[in-house]
Symmetry: C2
Subunit: 527 residues, 2 copies
């Protein structure tokens, strides 16, 4: 498959005429061919109009059609073959194995949502049958199902060029919910976006869906992204990126005539809490594993462990020594873009020069212009409490260890933290009683609490929450990974006294779709 | 039970010292004793501090304790006896039968949520067991439950002084979810609020709950309401009221350091669509029923039918004649407050004087200073399309009939409407094919679609949606009536590889709470 540099507007490939962008070889900084034409506002309008036209049709197609569509996207992505892997490796600077794994994850995610669509539990069917004899007033017949919100704008993430980009988790869950998608390609991987976009576009055609079910736009500035979020036909936004970018979209969405939900996954430092017995018994081993999690993918994960809270003392020193030893052998790694590398260097230097911070270790020196060198810092509890800038995410392989006098201080610092995607507890059985006292504080401010592990490696399953209170996400009531992500793009509608002939199939008394339903409040399985 | 005029801050009754408000006899406009002291910012701070202290404790109490608490509130409200009914009738101007019915609804709602809490489906338990042998990587153990958001601010509605006020649907669903509540009393019924507040406060004590589980504040201005929404310890807002009030709270909540969800139920004109065969066969009967719905409770319902769309002609005239005849015999009714009456009169006069509007009928003349006189208007499709001010809600018994040339125009006008709580279709079997074409447009912009009925009379059940896209509510993904309302105050948290001893009971493998659970994505009933 060739990369044309065109926009995908419904079934058409159209040259964008509003400036252009080029992919960059992450390792060398060289521009890659071809140039991608940025969309004009007229082209944005066309995409929105097509999405709107498609919306009412797409959402009422049989669930089987929708499921097959998701599976077809998955197969079409696989069918691109090595061209996709190579382009993605070049644009992202990520290792081939990682990108192959991410393709598997992307395809698996689409197939999982196909299964979710077939099963139909997301329709949330509830039926309260009429009670004509009820006194003092008869009870009406009420039936509820969830319907899709309408067209969704998806902003791809730089750090997951496949799994959280054009056909990633946001797109998969929105399409599964029955929402057309307009994807705004991330400028860090336009070629990857173009290839995947073509795979989705082809799946739309393969499955005979309305063309507006999917469009892909390139944006040479910010007008198209902003215009998308502000367009009256867009009913929700999926975004993964920086806090600045996400909060800007939140403001735009809130200022609309009709405000819409924004699901922005933004900023998290993912505290790691080392409890005394675990630290004493396994400090070196935890340190080694920590260094691995910290440096994975050049630290460019939303769930990267950017903060360690532990009681100061020789046990913590053992942990630090093991971490430092592992980091000192950790090669510098090419970062996703020159801009991300520059921001990382700047934040690391600023932290290193902070009067209250000590540099404990660095990874191997960079061998390329855009390679990030891991960094480990420490500070005191008082300094951490007094300097909110030390709570900010550094996107990359940098982490800050806070030396605390006791567990009460650790808990107190946890209570100072903003919302987080994850928190990790390292505990042995003798630590359980202490750990239990931390759970309320962690539940209040994180989406996922993990034990004796690290937040990197986000399982795509049914019980995953990749979300959390602001600012880790824009809407802490949701997850952007796992099957529950479909709920973000749905809302309930109730039908009162509607004749069988007009009811959607999901709500018909005979249950032709074989759905699990809640009858008079009681959950009933179809089989 | 005596009405003291004090704030309820946790277990204390405290005199508010920030100005005062008095209840008003809705029928006479006379001020009622006693005066209610407005809360100071210090008193607000105390209530928030207590709510925060209570939050972690209250949310982890056994479900049975929480259910009993809700039932105790219900019983305590009944135990107030006639004093409550009388005060509520006086303050609201609503008939005794209505208020008795509303008390029944309030009590029933609390008991329904008690049953929902006992059943535990709202915990949304999902378990993906570990797969240590999985290749290429072992799968971790993931378990998900929903946790309460934290303390909730509830703003009572003027038009449901019991069912949507201090212990109404927002409070009941928030408490059911595990969230402490700080209620801001509506100044239209401070005495009713005080009596019900005492019943809740007593239930907190009866059940041995932390005192901060509930507080009740009076506000002599707007500082306390605004301060509540802005307080860092408040994690969600429930509101029923005007569009202006609701959008102001939305802005405050969005501007916080940590933005929080606002569930504001605001503004809806609830279109009624009359289809040709129904109109021809039953026009007069529909008209009579319509007049009844329009004038019910002086038209002071969120679901009041403020707009009728139908094809012009003799059949529509028959409907109008029947409506006009019924309205002309409809007594004027005391409105909730002098302010609401004044706003109603002003909006009705403005509409009557509109160059494109004809007045078709009025109800009986007012016999009291604050009585609202029903009003029926008509206009043309072109005028309705061209004059957005005709789309605005008039809170009270006023409705606008739009004479359309054909059904295509009716559908086109539906597409011009903002988000609505309800839409009503009046159809006979011969209309079904036409009606089907309207469903997508209605599903996109309403929370409830009803057939051959009117939106007034909102059943408190499991399949009810009392919600809808903006501006009918602030968040179209939710309902404020029915058991699904509990979902508004919850968010998911995932636990990874957590030892059994630390897992909350809801997630323990042995399922000690007997919950329905989703295992590896498959729903499994506990019994």
């Amino acid at each position: 498959m060739e990369i044309s540099g065109d926009l995908l507007i419904g079934k058409h490939t159209v040259r964008g005429t509003n400036g252009s962008i080029k992919g960059i070889d992450a390792a060398t900084g060289e521009a890659l061919a071809p140039a991608f034409g940025g969309a004009t506002l007229e082209q944005l309008e066309q995409a929105c109009a097509l999405a709107w036209q498609a919306s009412d049709i797409y959402r009422e197609l049989p669930l089987e059609t929708r499921a097959k569509f998701l599976e077809t996207i998955a197969q079409n992505i696989l069918d691109i073959g090595d061209v996709l892997i190579e382009r993605c490796v070049t644009e992202s600077g990520l290792p081939r194995g990682r990108i192959e794994g991410e393709r598997g994850r992307t395809v698996g995610q689409l197939r999982m949502f196909a299964a979710v669509v077939r099963e139909g539990d997301f329709l949330g069917v509830r039926i309260d049958p009429a009670q004509p004899q009820r006194q003092p007033l008869p009870r009406v017949d009420l039936r509820l199902r969830y319907v899709p919100l309408g067209p969704v704008a998806v902003f791809g993430a730089s750090n997951f060029p496949l799994a959280f980009s054009v056909a990633g988790g946001d797109t998969a869950s929105a399409l599964a919910a029955g929402c057309p998608v307009i994807a705004k390609a991330h400028s860090a991987h336009p070629g990857t976006s173009a290839l995947v976009g073509r795979a989705v576009q082809k799946a739309v055609a393969d499955c005979g869906l309305p063309e507006g079910t999917f469009s892909l736009l390139f944006d040479s500035g910010r007008d198209i992204g902003q215009g998308l979020v502000s367009d009256r036909r867009i009913k929700a936004v999926g975004f993964t990126g920086s806090r600045g970018g996400g909060t800007a979209l939140m403001k735009l969405a809130a200022a609309r005539r009709e405000p819409i939900p924004v699901y922005a996954e933004m900023s998290s430092i993912n505290p790691v809490l080392l409890f005394p017995h675990a630290l004493k018994n396994r400090g070196a081993a935890i340190g080694k594993a920590f260094a691995g999690s910290l440096a994975l993918g050049a630290g460019q994960f939303c769930t990267n462990p950017g903060l360690v809270l532990a009681i100061d003392g020789p046990e913590l020193d053992t942990f630090i020594e093991a971490t430092a030893a592992a980091l000192s052998e950790t090669p510098a790694a090419t970062m996703l873009t020159p801009g991300i590398h520059k921001a990382y260097e700047s934040a690391v230097n600023k932290t290193a020069e902070h009067g209250e911070v000590k540099t404990l270790a660095r990874g191997c020196a960079a061998k390329g212009a855009t390679q990030g060198q891991a960094a480990l810092f420490s500070t005191t509890a008082e300094a951490f409490r007094a300097n909110p800038e030390l709570h900010e995410e550094i996107f990359g392989a940098a982490s800050l260890i806070v030396r605390c006098p006791d567990l009460a201080t650790v808990l107190d610092l946890v209570e100072q933290l903003e919302g987080q995607l994850t928190a990790a507890l390292h505990i042995d059985e003798a630590d359980y009683a202490d750990a239990r006292r931390f759970l309320p504080a962690l539940e209040r401010r994180t989406g996922r609490i993990l034990v004796n592990g690290f937040g990197t490696g986000v399982e795509v399953g049914h019980a995953m929450v990749h979300g959390g209170p602001f600012p880790s996400t824009a809407d802490g009531r949701s997850t952007s990974v796992g099957s529950l992500a479909i709920d973000r793009f749905l809302r309930p509608v109730s039908y009162q006294d509607m004749p069988e002939g007009l009811l959607p199939d999901a709500l018909k008394t005979a249950n032709p779709l074989g759905l699990n339903r809640r009858l008079d409040g009681k959950l009933q399985l179809s089989k």
